[in-house]
Symmetry: C2
Subunit: 291 residues, 2 copies
Amino acid sequence: MADRERPVFPVAGLGAAGPVMVIGGAEDKLRDKVILARFATLAGGIDGRVVIVSTASSLGDEAVVIYRELFLGLGIGEVVGLRPEEREQADDPAGVEAIRNATGVFITGGNQSRLTQVVAGTKLADALFLARDRGAVVAGTSAGASAMASHMVAYGRSGATPKNRMVHLSAGLGILQGIVIDQHFEQRWRIGRLLAVVAQSPSLLGVGIDEDTCAIVHADRSSLEVIGRGAVTIVDGANVKTDAYRGKGYRPLMVSGAILHSLPGGYWFDLRGRHLLTAPSAPVQEREASE
Amino acid sequence: MADRERPVFPVAGLGAAGPVMVIGGAEDKLRDKVILARFATLAGGIDGRVVIVSTASSLGDEAVVIYRELFLGLGIGEVVGLRPEEREQADDPAGVEAIRNATGVFITGGNQSRLTQVVAGTKLADALFLARDRGAVVAGTSAGASAMASHMVAYGRSGATPKNRMVHLSAGLGILQGIVIDQHFEQRWRIGRLLAVVAQSPSLLGVGIDEDTCAIVHADRSSLEVIGRGAVTIVDGANVKTDAYRGKGYRPLMVSGAILHSLPGGYWFDLRGRHLLTAPSAPVQEREASE
């Protein structure tokens, strides 16, 4: 499995890149549809051409049908499905062409290892990099969110206390760098394993995303915006002291000095600087100014 | 409810004070009994006189019977039970006298609000301060652990994401200062509410204790030692940015910059300095020296 750090195609200037939406699963599909509506807007609305990649899903074409109806209902002009199930299908020129023409790509949930084992390192993956770099919005929910970064949580156990061997990484699609994403974060009790990951890999920023919540990584690849009902939890292990390097068995890990940020909708974070952003639209600043 | 910050009796020098053991509940009673054996040792073994305070428990005298047999089995010379159920009983001279002669006091689990509403601010509580200050070990498990500090989690909800109004404080016994204790920490998913507490009260250090795990606050009232099977999670909100002060309803709180320490058995922490201690016996130092 290649952990591709850079797209192989020439990329447009950073300013022209599209946003990446990382959704914690179970996004609202019935009421306000805050997250899906934002995707539809970023994908260009009536002029949009959206490709749904459903490889992760065990539902077969059903996942495509559900999201297709949702996106058409949200005003997207054209929506097609793409479901490679073998690596050679992920190199197929027709699929690459569909991504090449897309203004938005939506990667469904399911099994993130199935997704990356079919797609990562293929021409389809390269087409995804290029799509993002020329301004398309690339979104993933649940497994599709986990697979977005270079380092992916493949599987692991639940719990609040970090433990040895509770989490296993593999190589993700690599559309985002320097972070590791965990989804269904609050609902499946994943704070312990995210602490364990950053203790073992302090160069990575841990990003835990609750259900019906989305982290949007904007074109500068550093500004992260939170939307949705829950919170995005960011775990920074830059200054961590740990005994993870000599861990044995399934015992608690010592992790001292991790910095934690819990950010509800409306807040922004600087991934590169690893701190809360008050610009461009943080509620703190706005509301304090109005007092 | 008085939040008593200081004992009313004259206190011995700090060096002569006893340790305080804060246990996360469900401590091992059948196998190694690491935590209860440490209590028995600190209480003086065969020369020890232990008082069990069972007010929190709904089991009546049964809680006393269980711990009495355990402590006698661990070699304690004398074990008696004390179960005030009304505040006037907690002012009763006989109970105060029992505590005055004790080398160890063990406060059972149950309902911490019941415990503090009967005991906090009474002569029995004053006798507990005095016992600690003249060198007796004072231990509490579960509800007995929560009640140990001046600020006590009375009740709250589970979850990893901090939310408004998810946790309610009241005044504890006040034997420990400057911290707020939560127990059954991993098992009942209490990281979110501890983050919410320190966001609202950044002067308090949050101390979350897993089941079968104990934080021993030593005589200097700053050195915290972890023993047992799980971990002690320390949440430091000194540098937190938050919107907690304008929280409404049961929505996620913004908490940015909390520092988190997850410490398994064998590790030490400096409560006053808010950092990992490598002395007097931290495994990191020992093991590194042996490499």
